[in-house]
Amino acid sequence: MSAAQASGEPQTSASRDSGPLRVLTDARYLAMRAIRESLRQPGVEITNIFIPLFFLAVSTGAIANFSERGFGVDNYLAFQLPVAVLQAVAGSSSASGIAIVLDMERGYFDKLLLTPASRWSLIIGRVWADAVRAIFFASIMLIAALVAGSGMAAGVGGAILILVIAGLFGGAYSGIGIFIAMRTGNAQAAQAGFLLFFPLLFMAPAFAPLAVFDDWLRIIATINPVTYIMEGMRGLVMEGYAWPVTEGGQILFGDDGLPQTKDPPALHWAFVSLAGFSVFTLTIAALALRARTRAD
C-alpha cells in the first residue's frame, strides 16, 4: 500500500474506522495480543492453577470428614468446587491491571492510544481476554474436581453453565484491575487490586453454608454479589439445574419479579448478581479510562 492510497482516500477508511463493529474488531486483536502475553509468561499463570487447587485439596482434606455432621454438607469437594473456580478466575483476571500499568510504563499504552482504534476497544480487549482466560482456568478446576470425584449434578449442561459463569465473572473482575490501573498508573496499586479478592470470596459462603455463619458475617455475605454467583454454581454441582417453573408454556414469575424455580438456590440470582457486578466494575473502568484519556 502506498501513502497516496492511504491518505488519498480518508473517506473510505473513515467509514470502516468507526462504529460498534469496528470497536469489537479492534478489541479482538487486542484480546489476542493479551492472550499471547499470557502464553508467553506461563510462570505467572501457573500460580492461578496451583493456589486454588492447593486450597481445594487442603480445605477438603480438613473439613470433608465432619462437614455432614457439622453443617449438613455430605460432598464437601463439590461444595468447594465453585470456590476453586472463582479463586482461579479472580487470580487470573487481576493480571490485566498490572499488564496495563506495564504498558503505560513502557509507553506502549500511548502507542495504542495514538492509533485510530477506539478507546473502548482497549478495555473491551482486556475484558475479552480475561473472560477467555477465566474459562480456561475454570476448566482446569472443573476437570481436577471431577477427577477427584466431586460429581456434577447438572451434568454436561451444568459444567458448561459453570464455565459461562466463570467467563462472565472473569470479564467483570478484570474491570477492577483496569479501574485501578487507569486511576493510578501504579503497578503496586494494581497488584493490591488482587487483595479485593479476599473479602469478595471469603465474605461469602466459601467454607460453610450461610446458615451456620455468625450474624455479622452473614449480613455482609448477603450483600456480597459473589455469594449468589457462588451459590448458583454450587447448585449446579450439588443439586442440578433449577429450571424455571412453567405453566402452559409460560414462565411463572414470583413476587420478586424473577422466574420461579423448583429448587433453590436459584441459578438466576447468580446471573442477576453477575450482571450487577459487571455493570459496576466495567462502568468504573470506563469512567477511569475516560478521565485518563481526556482530562490531561
Binding site: S7, S13, D17, L30, K111, T115, P116, A117, R294, D296
Partner: protein
Amino acid sequence: MSQRSPTVAERLFEQLAASAPQHERDAGLAIEAQGLVKHFGDIHAVNGIDLRVRPGQVFGFLGQNGSGKSTTVRMLTTLLRPTAGEASVAGFNVLTQDRQVRRAVGVALQDAGLDILQTGRELLRLQSRLYNVPRGQIEDRVAHLLDVVDLTEDADRRIGGYSGGMQRRLDLASALVHSPSIIFLDEPTTGLDPVSRQNLWEYIQRLNREDRVTFFLTTQYLEEADQLCDEIAILDAGEIVQQGTPDELKATVSADVIYVQVEGDERAQQQAVSALLPLPNVEDAQWDFNEGIAVYTKSGHDTLPRVVRSLDDEGLPFSGLRLARATLDDVFFKATGHRIEPGEQAGQPTPGAGA
C-alpha cells in the same frame, strides 16, 4: 539505520517513494496552532505556542529537556488535552476530530513504546490492524517495513531481546504502517549511534524531498536541526523565543563570534563584558560558565586585536581566544540566555531494552 546495512536509508526511500500525498500540497496548513497552553497544576509546560507548518516542511522544535517540546507533540497528536488554545493537524481539530488526526499522522514518541512480549512482526501486524490497513495487504506491508528498518532477521524474535537501536527502528516502522502524510518524531535520534543517526537523517530528507511528507520533529541537537529542518522554532520554558529558517536564524546573530576565556571570578567576567561591549563593530557580548565570553561582531578580524588590547588594558588575564562563524548554538544562546546541553543518551539503550 544500522551499521550492518548502510543502504537502509535508500531502501526506506525506495519503498516510500511512490507514496506522495499529493492532496496535502494544496490543502492548507499541515499543522496549525494558536495560543497552545498546557499547565500541569503549577507547572506551566507550554505557555502559548503559535504554529504554522506547511505541507512538505520539515519543522523542528529545538530546545532542552523540559522546554515543552514533548508536551507540545503530545497535544498535537491528541494524547494530551491543551489547557487553552486550538490546534489542527492535517486540517482536523485535535480536540473534536481526534480520531481523524490519529489516522492522518504517524508518531514516534521519545521513548520507543513497545511491548516486549510480542515479536517485531506481531507488533507491526497489530499496529497495521488497528490502523485499518486492508487485511490482504498487511503481511506484505509488515514484511516490507521490517526489511526497510533492517529487522527482517529479527522479526520473529521477541522485542524484549532487541537492542535500544533496534527498538527505535521498530518504533519508527510502527509509525509508518499506514503511510501517514505527517510524521511526528520526538527526539528521533536520541539514543542512536552516529551511523544510525546519519541514516535516519537521510531517510527523513528523502521522504520529505521526494514524497512531500511533512515532518514535525523535536531535537536537542543543533546539528540535527541545522541539517534537517526547513524551519526551526527555538523553545525555551514553554515558549517559542525565536523562529525561522536556519539561515534566517543565523542572520540574527552577528557574522562572527570571538570566544575568550577570561580568568577570574564572575566579577572579572562582568568587568570584561563591560569593557568589550563598547568596542567598534561589537554587537553583543555574553558570558556563559562553560563557553566563556562570546563576543558577537560584524568583523572578527578587526575586533580580535581590539579584544586583546582591551583585556590587557583592564588587566584581565585570559587563557583562550578563538574566532568562529556564528552557529545555531549562538542563536540559541542569544535567544535563551543559555547554551543547549543535550541530556546525552546516545548509545544507551532506551528504557525497556534488554529485559
